[in-house]
Subunit: 339 residues, 2 copies
């Protein structure tokens, strides 16, 4: 057990409200001598933020989307006591300079606490493209449309689904797909056979196999240097005619120009939540292809599920206090491979 | 075993292709002396249709959406031999005059063979409204939109779902909802307790209970005279603030004017596949409320799943031949309560 200290929360009003429910706030109050919240939206500039750090010298800091970037220099006086940064969301790349992790700062993020909510968005986009529902709603509103002879609706039942990547989101998606009697295969060389077996997922030996043998492809591969635009035109063209391509992973894993060409030609059905450039530029070709379903990167935690990430953070804080093992630690490997 | 006879298919080219796969066609060929198909789109008028019936005097007739209405008079010479009408889709009200059923004609329809595909559309519409995905896609295309501070996405996980009706579609929907750790209740006085228990669904004792105690309501009640506009403004206002109302049943069960007012005011999230008037009139208020998801009654069998209804029909035909028990018989009660 560590000596009790102050827990600093650098959270905006909305972040505090959405991520930390009353039960979690009560838990924090029992774990620390006191809990001090500062609203990052109140800092007039970076100097004000640094001055606050220098004045408070936090040992434990809870951060979120709105927290400003920490000082580059691990020897900055505002960082002299900092031991643990509990980040309530995902990537810390914009928040934590790499040198701080090199110098031993403990950093955790939301880990897999919201994976199932991202998986839910994947299922939504699959069903949407099969039924053409976003296109129908758009046309019902804009063109006074009604169905005609050209109906091309499809069902998920008994389809073949291919997952590019078999991390925690894919595993949650497998659970959601089960009631549809689908065959699922995945391409993920680093995942052992026993995980595939436990999930009831077939291993695809290559991306070529994955893309050519499945009618529905869900893109969930990590954005590593090796994966940059690995889903190229050649692979996309292997998807069976009228097949479905859903991206809830990272936009830059895909050659988006090739994807836009195939989508515009009606060769495959496409639904996207992520893009290599975000916000999606106004002149993106996708904006002009009305039968592509477009979301503004909202597969992450829905507002009502942010509390799951908050609870995960508070669990980590309680483990920190008793010097237990933290989960979802961002080490240098994770830092370098984050998106 | 009946004496082998001719099986007449009155199916358009698309109906024949979508509903009867090669395996079912082969099965039919073994069941009957011969199988004769006529394309209903080839009849110039009703006289031509009646003349064909008189000439062929079918005993067994397989019908679908395009089949013209049968003669009103059971003594019509074209009906003299007709014993079994195997309808491959749902309601036969526009096809079969009531008097024919009164006079003993056996009629079956697709029964519950496509219920799971309708349930799939229900899940799609629930997820769509929770995530606001059809609205986002519309705005991403039309307004070059991107997410901002006002994000109001929600997840299905751990929600309370209320089903109005507990027939075969609701039961399939329960299966699809299971992985989301939801609590499900249903209002359906005619369904026995043991069915609720088997499904893991709680019984709502009244519509008031159903609407006030659940965040998500799925409308699946049959359109009986008693149910006409039974979901009125008073009930709709009981749905918790920002709750979800999905209709994949029948439009006329709901007071659509009240629903449009509540939707326009942003009081609840609404997704509709069915309407009291179809096609939905151009001047329907729903068309102007862009945050209501609108589909053109496509919750029925997707094109790729019409074969399930065809297989169900062929199974019934095989039972007819061996004088076995048919499923999904349309009796007078079913006829009068169909939509």
């Amino acid at each position: 057990m560590r000596s009790r200290s102050i827990c600093y929360l650098c959270l905006s009003d909305n972040e505090y409200k959405d991520f930390l429910l009353p039960a979690e706030r009560a838990a924090l109050a029992t774990l620390f001598t006191s809990v001090v919240r500062i609203n990052p939206e109140g800092f007039s500039d970076m100097d004000a933020w640094y001055a606050w750090l220098e004045k408070e010298k936090p040992e434990v800091l809870v951060t979120c989307w709105k927290t400003p970037t920490l000082p580059e220099d691990p020897k900055h006086p505002g960082l002299s006591e900092l031991k643990y940064l509990c980040h309530l969301t995902g990537s810390v790349r914009k928040l934590v300079p790499r040198a701080l992790i090199e110098s031993g700062l403990i950093v955790t993020n939301w880990g897999s606490s919201i994976s199932r909510v991202v998986a839910e968005c994947g299922l939504l986009l699959i069903l949407t493209e099969l039924r053409r529902s976003s296109l129908w709603s758009l046309r019902m509103h804009r063109d006074n449309a009604w169905k005609g002879k050209d109906l091309d609706t499809r069902s998920l039942f008994n389809q073949k689904v291919g997952l590019h990547g078999l991390g925690s989101i894919s595993r949650c998606l497998v659970d959601l797909l089960k009631p549809f009697d689908v065959s699922i295969s995945a391409y993920s060389p680093s995942v052992p056979d026993e995980t595939f077996e436990k999930l009831g997922v077939d291993r695809a030996d290559s991306l070529e196999d994955l893309f050519s043998q499945n009618y529905i492809i869900v893109e969930l591969a990590a954005l590593t240097p090796k994966n940059h635009q690995i889903v190229d035109e050649r692979l996309l063209k292997m998807i069976p005619e009228d097949g479905v391509f859903v991206n809830i992973g990272r936009g830059a894993v895909v050659d988006e120009s090739a994807l836009a060409r195939l989508a515009a030609a009606g060769r495959i059905r496409v639904a996207l939540d992520v893009y290599s450039k975000e916000p999606l530029p106004d002149d993106s070709p996708f904006r002009a292809i009305e039968h592509v379903t477009l979301l503004p990167h909202i597969s992450g935690p829905t507002v009502d599920q942010r509390c799951a990430a908050g609870a995960h953070g508070v669990e980590n804080l309680s483990r920190y206090v008793v010097q237990g093992e933290l989960s979802a630690i961002v080490d240098l490997w994770g830092y370098d491979h984050a998106t």
